[in-house]
Symmetry: C2
DNA sequence: GTTCCGCATGAATCGATAG
DNA sequence: ACTATCGATTCATGCGGAA
């Protein structure tokens, strides 16, 4: 089946079976969180979530290239006063399925939903769990480098004498050498904490994450013309991000209304493409 | 056994058995992370970590008051290219043990050391996992309120032009006082993402977390004269924090060298106490 | 054309009320 | 007793209209 630059209507548990093996470079998705009120996907309850997800992640494991990466954006809900355990149970289950749990990024949502409760504060972060098929995978770190902040300059000036020598003598891991290289540049590598605000005032399409989020990972894990898949593509944000950056996209969505939104947005990209040849760098701000 | 304001030498698996039931208001600790180097801290390997921790958490559950809270600072190590699963397995095991997994705070470490690996970025966050005995527990949210974001920024920029110069010419340090005046009027509740820099090199003791971290949770979960326990107290940072804030402390440490460091620091607190009657508020900055 | 202010809007959660 | 619905609470962001 030809999968490039298409949005498929249906349950990804079915559609993915038609995808060829080892055909996708990056999977970025934010599946519907466990929610009893949710109508789509039959309203997956927290207790059933792992069993519901595993057949889909099994297909994702098959179609991902050996050098590819799977980024899963998810957060556990509060159920009966406790954080539910379905997310961490899912990680363990996917490891048994054959996935490698390489890393967990934190998405620090600078503008989380307001509210006050006697026993907890506002939830200001979500998980971005990185799974891989092999220990060796493609990663283009220099594509997401960020400018050195003021705090970094101050810290580096402090490091110059004491910490530098201390680290070299203590561990011998060559930190001091790296620091000296760092000084001459104005760009540094980011960390595994990503600071981004949610887009909460978009009337045309309500994306659950800002488009800068998939763009950051597309930049990090793919090159132009690589294939980016979102099996729960929703209003098409991941596909739009891929298209704007010259990557091939593939999207799957079970809700017909969202399909139309995606296609409209992607059509606009086609029109605008000549104007955005020079993609401007997007930096996360701390 | 009398436990108040003492540091015990020994393995907390043994010492805790002497503690009476329901005697502690807050447990804050950063246990030795699983480490393959067998020499430090007795060397708990990642695969054995859960089994090693569970007898200790069982005692902690017994001695915690029904209204108390357990904050566990931990982060999984990278083993063979993967994040090891002992932390999330520990959460599941402690739930079976009877703990409620109320929340997971993120400690965003603003200044981690630079470093570079081909397959991952610098690790800039740690988990602060909140466990409780009951759904109802003590929480004093107003004690950790922070200045409102945008409003504070605007006022700061205004102050930098007019008021700042005026106050600086007067006293030299009047700027801080000026800020504290309008800070008290516009405070909001924080979130579950805590921004704190790691403590810089300290000659006498190398703490794994800044003292502001236990102070933040002591402020949030206890009142004066409540009991704060750290079963892996190390160089005594948690105990010092509790003492400085007028709480009773109890600490357990297996390494005799650390015991001396703790006692020295706590003795200094006793001397300084009259001078720090008025505890200044500590705000986390984003 | 800038800057400023008002206002709607979010992957939310708790507790009370109703069936 | 157990589930479903609803109101109250709360704050960073971006838009549009006003000065």
């Amino acid at each position: 089946m030809e999968i490039l630059n298409k949005i498929f209507l249906g349950d990804c548990a079915d559609i993915l079976k038609e995808f060829p093996d080892n055909s996708v470079d990056l999977i970025f998705t934010s599946p519907p969180y466990a929610d009893q009120r949710q109508k789509t996907y039959g309203g997956v309850s927290p207790d059933e979530y792992v069993d519901w997800f595993l057949p889909r992640s099994e297909q994702l494991l098959r179609i991902l290239k050996p050098t590819g990466t799977f980024i899963l954006n998810i957060k556990e809900r509060v159920v009966d006063g406790e954080r539910h355990s379905y997310v961490i149970e899912l990680i363990l289950a996917m490891k048994k399925q054959g996935w490698l749990w390489t890393e967990e990024f934190i998405w620090h949502k600078k503008n989380s939903y307001p509210g006050k409760w006697p026993n907890r504060f506002r939830d200001n972060w979500e998980r971005l769990i990185q799974f891989n098929k092999n220990k060796k995978f493609n990663m283009y770190q220099q594509q997401v480098m960020v400018p050195v902040g003021d705090w970094a300059k101050d810290r580096l000036s402090n490091l110059s004498q004491t910490d530098k020598t201390r680290d070299e003598s203590k561990v011998g891991s060559g930190f001091g050498k790296n620091i000296s290289n760092w000084l001459g540049r104005n760009l540094v590598y980011p960390t595994n904490v990503i600071h981004m605000a949610t887009e909460c005032s978009n009337r045309n399409h309500s994306a659950v994450f800002p488009i800068e989020l998939p763009k950051w990972f597309i930049r990090l894990f793919t090159q132009p013309n690589d294939v980016v898949l979102d099996p729960f593509v929703g209003s098409g944000t991941t596909a739009v991000a891929a298209a704007q950056m010259g990557r091939c996209y593939a999207g799957i969505e079970i809700n017909p209304e969202y399909i139309d939104v995606s296609l409209n947005r992607l059509t606009q990209i086609q029109i605008q493409l000549p104007d955005i040849v020079e993609e401007q760098e997007i930096y996360q701000t701390s």
